[in-house]
């Protein structure tokens, strides 16, 4: 059965304290790995798509990387406005089912 597991569940950071979020997946035939950001009371907002192991994507203080078993979202020198829940999702190639992890809630203190 497909599974997407995110860790940690919650992460509290001091402003400027870099860290990484983990998304490990067991999906038969990965077609793509997606990262979203979700603010309280809002819908998920797309950040990145990664398609193959070794691929990296960057946006401001965020960098996403992909291996054959997991993806990492690195937050460099975070600011309070980076506080949000970060979701990852794995797209399966045979039927295009998108499986989501439960998310990591990041809180950045000034």
């Amino acid at each position: 059965e497909d599974q997407v597991t995110q860790s940690p569940e919650a992460l509290r950071l001091q402003e400027g304290e870099s860290s990484s979020l983990n998304c490990s997946y067991t999906v038969s035939g990965l077609r793509g790995l997606f990262w979203y950001r979700q603010d309280p009371g809002k819908g998920p907002e797309f950040l990145f798509t990664l398609y193959s192991a070794g691929e990296e994507k960057e946006k401001e203080r965020l960098k996403a990387t992909l291996t054959k078993k997991e993806s990492f979202l690195h937050i460099t020198a975070p600011k309070p406005e980076d506080s949000a829940t970060y979701l990852c999702a794995a797209l399966r190639s045979n039927d295009y089912k998108l499986s989501f992890g439960a998310g990591t809630t990041v809180t950045v203190r000034a």
Binding site: G32, G43, A89, S99, G101, A102
Partner: protein, 113 residues
């Protein structure tokens, strides 16, 4: 932001009553999806549509039905709401299912008493 609106944004209803949630898009995307989001769970697919009048079930479709009579509108109906359907419901859209990103609406918070 993708042009997706959901209505209502909040609803409180009683067990056994019918409920319809609406998703409206202005992007002319072919695919539309309904998800539910519950604490401790990832987003779970309820139903999706790949064109007008073309729909299929997702992983948690029991107790839900959908309809799509126009490209821009996708309706989710709970025929007889139950407390287990208390959740936040999100609509999403994409141009294709194979590789395209799904873009999400703002959500509807539904409480069934």
């Amino acid at each position: 932001d993708a042009g997706i609106t959901q209505s209502p944004r909040h609803k409180v209803t009683e067990t056994g009553t019918p409920v319809t949630l609406r998703c409206h898009q202005t992007e002319n995307h072919r695919y539309m999806y309904w998800y539910r989001q519950d604490p401790g769970h990832g987003l779970r697919l309820i139903h999706y549509s790949y064109g007008v009048k073309d729909t299929d079930k997702g992983e948690v479709s029991d107790g839900y039905s959908v309809s799509r009579s126009k490209t821009e509108d996708f309706l989710l109906t709970l025929e007889s709401a139950t407390s287990s359907q208390t959740s936040v419901y999100f609509c999403a859209i994409s141009e294709s299912r194979a590789t395209d990103t799904q873009y999400f609406g703002p959500g509807t918070r539904l409480t069934v008493l």
